[in-house]
Symmetry: C4
Subunit: 269 residues, 4 copies
């Protein structure tokens, strides 16, 4: 189902936005405050590589984690394909989406997705934004993504869909390229685990890197299965009560595929 080599890019770089942050020309390794916590950075690098390896992201998409030493900062790579991220590429950002020290690196235009959700949701510790393919048809047809099976139980009563046309007047380039759009997205997300962006992609949140990677992966799987099931007949989804009970179990499970996915990547640098 998930053919690894591609999902769908997202973080479209805006030249002007980049100009503001790529002051320094040198390409030295940035110094993240959380460099004191190398385990967190290593997990973040694995998250990048795993999401690429599993087909949730392709050349585009990004994953972040809230700084466990400083909850008003978060960590995310500089602007590059997730499959190529190493520990030296991790930058630190404040909750307005500004890099603390970009060290001359380009940053993702859509870093405001992350900043806005961390501002709005203190419970959220990690975020994935992707264009994973099976999810796109749901956003553009207004079809609600719901749990087809227990592995998608975190979808609860269904994931909301963000319509950027409702957030600003006039046509946009579809991107969450500033804090105002980020706030509108975070508002639409509410307390959900996943939100779809019409004509763009989706965003998953979690209380850890492992949980958010699990959710991003099974959001894609559930979407594919739901579309296939809809073609076969009328779908008997998990009830909200079944979803709530199954979702609690999922919270204890993120470690198992995580170990497998790490083993498939091998050692990182």
């Amino acid at each position: 189902l998930l053919t690894p080599r591609f999902a769908l890019p997202v973080a479209l770089l805006c030249a002007s936005a980049l100009a503001a942050v790529t002051v320094a020309a040198r390409q030295s390794a940035p110094v993240a405050a959380s460099r004191q916590n190398p385990a967190l950075i290593e997990d973040l690098v694995y998250a990048n590589r795993i999401l690429a390896n599993q087909g949730v992201v392709d050349g585009f998409g990004h994953v972040s984690v809230r700084d466990d030493k400083n909850p008003s900062h978060f960590l995310m790579s500089s602007s590059m394909a997730p499959a190529l991220v190493t520990t030296k590429d991790i930058l630190e950002y404040d909750l307005e989406g500004a890099p603390i020290d970009a060290a001359g690196r380009a940053v993702y235009l859509e870093r405001f997705i992350h900043a806005a959700i961390y501002r709005a949701r203190p419970d959220v510790k990690a975020i994935v934004h992707s264009h994973s393919p099976a999810v796109i048809p749901f956003g553009v047809t207004g079809t609600i993504l719901r749990p087809v099976f227990h592995m998608g139980a975190f979808l609860g009563e269904g994931a909301p869909i963000f319509e950027i046309r409702d957030a600003v007047s006039g046509p946009t380039d579809m991107l969450i390229s500033d804090n105002k759009l980020g706030d509108a997205l975070a508002h639409a997300l509410g307390g959900h685990a996943v939100i779809l962006l019409r004509g763009h992609g989706s965003t998953a949140v979690g209380n850890s890197i492992q949980q958010v990677v699990f959710r991003a992966f099974y959001t894609e799987v559930n979407a594919k299965l739901q579309a296939e099931a809809m073609a076969v007949g009328k779908v008997n989804f998990l009830t909200p009560e079944e979803a709530a009970k199954a979702s609690k179990n999922l919270d204890t499970l993120a470690a198992r595929p995580w170990e497998l996915w790490k083993a498939q990547i091998g050692k990182i640098k």
Copy 2:
């Protein structure tokens, strides 16, 4: 069709259930009684690796074999992703689903699927439980999975679908987490080779490891082909008589793909 890197997890770990069996803290290799039969354990490890490699299981799912020295015991790995299982991870269980010596290892919550079927079906020597993706749409739409071609002939007149809502009152977490639910599942399975679990996955049984792996694989293939055929037109399934005759032939065939699948894995440890 079967993209190897994932199918759909199943054995959701229940913390309380685990507590009961992970008494010892050490992570030494358990001692299975059938360690006297290393060939059986090696085949079981291959079954784990093959099912992962062929996309029938992903980070979740499990396969067991009845102990050929002691038919009231069965063998299955400790709780982990099937792709990572080695001979040292194989545990022995009694027919109530209790591990004989877990040696500090966590065990699959859904071991009761295996225990209950071995209790009810003396002819069954091996069992696979998976969330293989193409099968899910059939369970959630109540569409009967039937043999589209001779390789799915073991589906006979169609695989039954287990509805957990019929087995207990009130909402569940969808899992077969005790012997009562296991018995209800085994009852629904009856004399069939395969049963679907609505909103969860499926379970295949066989008279050997090779046969059950063959069946789990071609259940997934048949499901994908049946869904595609239903989209093209009215399906002319194998008649029950054709299925019965073709199924007898299949019983002589499990060795051929098994050799191929083993060769694709290479040496195991």
Copy 3:
């Protein structure tokens, strides 16, 4: 589209049929008369490996070539998964499907597919029988497979479908397990390049190994595209005249993908 690791098996071994040919118990290398032409045998081994690598066959399926030194004989491997075939596994058969010297090896039950077509079609030099997945839905729904694009032009005005129920009275095991069934299949094939077998698979013929591998591969591709196109709208197929003209061009083209496919396999033994 074609995920390499599987297509759909075919040559179901019939124990009694095997008994007749596996007289010798030794597993030595058989001596094919065409061993004087090692290039032909090498191409046949590549054909086995390529068909497996491209997902046209999985653990089952087989490919043969008419002996260029003796047109009343043909070459085909002993009974095994095509991906594992080496030059030492090639056997020689007469046009009744009897092995000249099986050297103790098991032979494919459905060798009569090959024998019957070589008897009926002197122009045919090579044959592939497979269960390639996208083709199955057409056979079981009675939907005619027609050229969606120029690469499927050899399908002409559409591939015929063989219904085994019309060839014998009473239910069968679906297999072409004797010369009478082989003759019925060859009759249904007529002058076509490809025939579908309801609930079973398909068979392609060609004037060379390269051409038949090309046709088996693009039969699968065309089937997948035709099913997808039918889901999108009314399909504007190649006219018979366009198919005839495009098909002539295809005859000059089999060398290009053949070189690529061989390179993907590397050296064989």
Copy 4:
């Protein structure tokens, strides 16, 4: 989605057309005028390999680049599978599609696709012709390919479909095998980025190798998503205004996946 090992061939070799250009028998390396610009040739070789690796081309298909030293010439490999192209295989052509020095190599019959578009569109610097699979159903059903999400924004208000039956009287072999057909195709392309060829494939154009590879890849992705979305419900496409704004952003983005795709290939020769 994009399974790498195949897309759909295109450049059908016409023996008579080839005869005209393969005068010399020797297979030495041709001397391209742009050999003074090895970076351009290296990028062209990467483009061949990337398109094969990403499943946009299989044994067939071709990519060209306008000579940056001489805009009335263009570079393209000799007739071979794109996955096997090396720097030594790059030939130089004039704008009539004639090779400057074929050095005994066979050339693509459909080189006139490239020649005609370079003649008609001075802004075009690179061209991809492929049979990438998800696009075929749109051409044969007359369904307009439109941007489902921002990554397909270059499709604008929809890609035109070329019907070869409108360009010449009487049936054809479907190929763009001379300059007259090339001109008809270029006329139908107009100012668009992509054109579909009914029963054949598609052609993308760009202002650089990176851009045209990006467009060829995301044309395939968008086609797959659009077909899937149409099966789920009524599709809310990007408006022409959204597509225009998003497309501008895409123009700044081709470098990111390009770096990833090159890294997946590794060093070339």
